[in-house]
């Protein structure tokens, strides 16, 4: 497979996942803020600043907007062209990558991505956003799910599929760790006041941001506690958005690409992913809290970046910086 194709498939999957995660984060936050008691300018800030912090976009946001509230933050994360990670920008980037690999992906996959792109740029999307933002975000999430379903059902599960999985799982693991990290800080500034009504709502929101609430409920009955939420989101072995599950997915895909047995490595990326897998397999949540959840998640994010870098230098080492594709030639 061409290195460029592998790279495009990887990024296509990452961007679709990014659009989905952003949608879910906004959806959940909108719902939570409908229930809460923070009002006025300060209240808006308390409600929405954490979202920008999770996505590491405060600086760009502040350069574009003067007020921070549901409208401006949602606009910024949904439609802003200036924001390269907005939902619209992410879908546009996914589509751009899909276009360069049109001959590789199935027509059905292309039509999913292209359909979402066309819709996001149409008045219909704006209308839906204005009348019910929650419906809007759910629609984006649905489209992402449909894309993954279509992909699983129509694309050969060969090398390209594995690169696609790596992109999807790395992005998801990163996003999950950010959501948890942020909420931990906001909710437990000094490691106290566990329990209480608002807390429960906030921790439920964390689960919902990862689509984990229902799955969590099937395992844990009773009080939602930070302890068990973190355990579920970081260490659960079969919930498809837990960090452990995602890293497993990355590790399995990397091994499928090289043909090396799992538990061994023949590339640096496999060595790194295998090690992270083992760490997650043999870690207890008590160890995580002992170390500090924030420090632990920070470490995971760095290791995810290392895996991605190692993968690129192995398989896409030929990739050169952005081509000058704007050059024109006449069309006969």
């Amino acid at each position: 497979m061409l290195s460029r194709v592998a790279d495009s498939l990887y990024w296509m999957a990452r961007y679709i996942e990014r659009a989905e995660n952003n949608s879910r984060i906004l959806d959940v936050n909108l719902q939570v803020t409908l229930d809460d008691e923070n009002t006025g300018v300060d209240g808006d800030k308390i409600d929405w600043e954490p979202i920008l912090a999770t996505l590491e976009e405060q600086k760009l946001f502040n350069s574009l907007y003067t007020v921070m509230n549901a409208d401006t933050v949602c606009e910024f994360i949904t439609f802003a062209k200036e924001n390269p990670n907005s939902i619209r920008s992410s879908v546009a980037a996914a589509r751009e990558n899909a276009r360069t690999v049109r001959e590789y992906i199935s027509s059905e996959m292309w039509e999913r991505i292209n359909g979402l792109y066309l819709w996001l740029n149409s008045p219909a999307a704006r209308q839906m956003f204005a009348s019910s933002a929650i419906d809007f975000f759910r629609h984006v999430v649905d489209c992402s799910h449909q894309f993954h379903g279509t992909t699983a059902a129509t694309l050969t599960h060969g090398e390209g599929w594995h690169f696609l999985q790596i992109g999807k799982y790395l992005e998801r693991a990163d996003s999950t760790s950010r959501i948890l990290d942020l909420k931990y800080h906001i909710l437990l500034p000094r490691g106290e006041e566990v329990g209480g009504n608002v807390d429960t709502i906030q921790w439920q929101a964390v689960l919902k941001s990862c689509s984990a609430f229902e799955a969590y409920r099937k395992i844990h009955t009773g009080q939602v506690t930070p302890w068990s939420v973190a355990e579920f989101i970081v260490l659960h072995d079969s919930f498809p958005r837990s960090i452990r599950f995602c890293v497993e997915g990355v590790d399995a895909a990397l091994h499928r690409i090289s043909g090396c047995d799992r538990g061994h490595f023949c590339t640096d990326a496999e060595r790194l992913s295998g090690r992270l897998c083992s760490d997650l397999n043999y870690t207890r949540i008590a160890d995580v809290f002992k170390m500090g959840l924030h420090e632990y998640l920070d470490g995971i994010q760095l290791r995810l970046i290392e895996i991605s870098t190692a993968m690129h230098s192995k398989y896409c080492e030929w990739m050169e910086p952005a081509p000058g594709q704007g050059q024109k030639q006449e069309i006969a």
């Binding site: 061409l2 360069t100 049109r102 001959e103 039509e111 081509p323 594709q325 069309i331 006969a332």
Partner: protein, 483 residues
């Protein structure tokens, strides 16, 4: 006649569908019935369905002029253009003859230049041709084929005779529209295909692949299984959809310049498993851009060293380098002579009468008659660098007059041909619009021509310019066997 065609004006042109007002040509009868039988709003619904299909599949071209990189669909007209098989066979014979002559001409021009020595083409025309590549004199291309893929533009005059308007021997585009238009028409009018025997076009991809594999270079390590790729300028090229479409149809890799690298005069593509040797490149990049070490130094689209690999016989390019000389509109004038010279035959498909302003007598005539003529610059395409005398202003006439006087080598003139018209849907009514026809000719082990080709239609009322950049659209073209 029903309401759709009741007020149809045949006009003073050759009409593809009507021999005279109200008198439908036999090969259109079935289609007429089907369309007349449509209920209110059905045409609009089908047109909307077709448009949505193109948009959803991303069958678009990019408009360069605004920096948004806007993508538009190539307007599609639902009403098919029908060519009876007998007529088509005549066209086919003519095209085969023409491509044979052009290939022999290219061999000759890059070797002995007999046609020049014998005085049929002036030497200065060859020497001054913009796309002549003297660097390739004496170079033998694999299988002696130069123009592997040719798109020749045909028009019909007032009597319905097919004439050749120009040849595109470099990177002719548009064939993906032929294939997609057919897909859409099958979805929209399945019943019609059942009734009429429309010749299929679907095997184009396979034929193209066969051809590319056939022309593997001398040093191909596995001549029975050469590695073929399609080289595109990238997703910002307006024909990118087509490049991708064809690569998919052939099941080959589509590559951009940076995917390829030349080592020791061998071309490789960069894959996740290391370098992989490439034998044949269907390149959709012009000569000028293909190798910055040989042609345009500023090209970022090409591959440094690829020309050297080509010369060594380690890779083949389709089309060959230097075929652009045959696209020169001055050279076009000489094609009938080539046919006689190389094949000893009379041209089956005539040229449009042409004056060369480089000849003094012709120039005098042209300068005296600019307002009646079509003036074309020798090396531009896409409907640019062209003047349609009767539709132009005095200032434009004067501009071209000066241009001709300044550079008589680079202009040709032709009479205004009343292109044939075909019924087309225009804002809910059916009106005649001018059409041309671009068949695609593949020269490999044998010569194959896609039945029909791309019918382009000038959707602006009265317009004679069919190019997509100038308000043109397309139609599905059906070659049907008459009962």
């Amino acid at each position: 006649m029903g309401q759709l065609f009741g007020n149809y004006d045949v006009g003073d042109f050759y009409d593809e569908m009507f021999a005279a007002p109200g008198q439908v040509r036999p090969h259109y009868r079935e289609v007429l019935e089907r369309f007349e039988g449509m209920v209110d709003g059905e045409v609009e619904r089908k047109q909307a369905l077709a448009t949505a299909t193109f948009l959803n599949q991303g069958i678009t071209f990019t408009v360069y002029s605004d920096n948004q990189g806007t993508e538009r669909i190539f307007p599609f007209d639902l009403f098919p253009r029908i060519i009876p098989s007998e007529e088509w066979e005549h066209v086919e014979r003519g095209l085969v003859q023409r491509i044979q002559a052009l290939n022999q001409f290219l061999h000759d021009i890059y070797h002995e230049q007999r046609i020049v020595k014998e005085g049929l083409i002036p030497e200065e025309v060859v020497k001054s041709a913009k796309h002549f590549r003297p660097e390739f004199m004496g170079f033998d291309v694999p299988k002696d084929i130069y123009i592997h893929i040719c798109g020749s533009d045909l028009i019909r005059d007032r009597e319905g005779n097919y004439l050749v308007l120009e040849d595109n021997g470099r990177c002719p585009s548009g064939v993906s529209y032929v294939l997609e238009n057919r897909q859409v028409m099958k979805r929209v009018f399945p019943q019609l295909f059942g009734k009429l025997k429309v010749r299929p076009v679907d095997d184009y991809g396979q034929e193209l692949l066969n051809l590319l594999r056939y022309v593997a270079p001398a040093n191909c390590p596995k001549p029975e299984d050469p590695t073929v790729v399609l080289l595109t300028p990238g997703i910002y090229n307006s024909a990118y959809f087509e490049h991708s479409y064809l690569a998919r149809a052939m099941g080959i890799e589509i590559v951009v310049g940076q995917d390829l690298v030349v080592r020791d005069d061998v071309v490789y593509m960069k894959t996740t498993k290391g370098l992989k040797r490439v034998d044949v490149i269907y390149r959709r990049i012009d000569d000028d851009f293909i190798d910055p070490t040989v042609f345009r130094k500023d090209s970022v689209l090409g591959v440094p060293g690829i020309v050297s690999a080509y010369r060594k016989g380690n890779v083949n390019l389709a089309n060959a380098i230097g075929t652009g000389i045959a696209d020169d509109k001055v050279m076009y004038y000489f094609v009938p002579r080539m046919i006689k010279f190389y094949l000893g035959e009379e041209p089956i498909l005539p040229n449009v009468p042409t004056w060369l302003t480089m000849f003094e007598e012709d120039r005098k005539y042209v300068l005296d008659h600019i307002p009646e003529l079509v003036i074309k610059s020798a090396n531009e395409s896409g409907g640019y660098g062209m003047l349609i005398g009767p539709h132009a202003t005095k200032e434009e006439h004067e501009k071209f007059r000066q241009a001709i006087i300044q550079d008589p080598r680079n202009y040709v003139a032709q009479p205004v041909i009343s292109l044939s018209r075909s019924p087309s849907f225009c804002d809910g009514v059916v009106e005649g619009r001018h059409v041309d026809l671009r068949p695609y000719i593949l020269s490999g082990e044998k010569i194959t021509i896609i039945p029909g080709g791309l019918t382009r239609v000038a959707l602006r009322k009265g317009s004679l310019v069919v190019n997509s950049s100038q308000g043109g659209g397309s139609k599905d073209s059906w070659v049907v066997d008459e009962e």
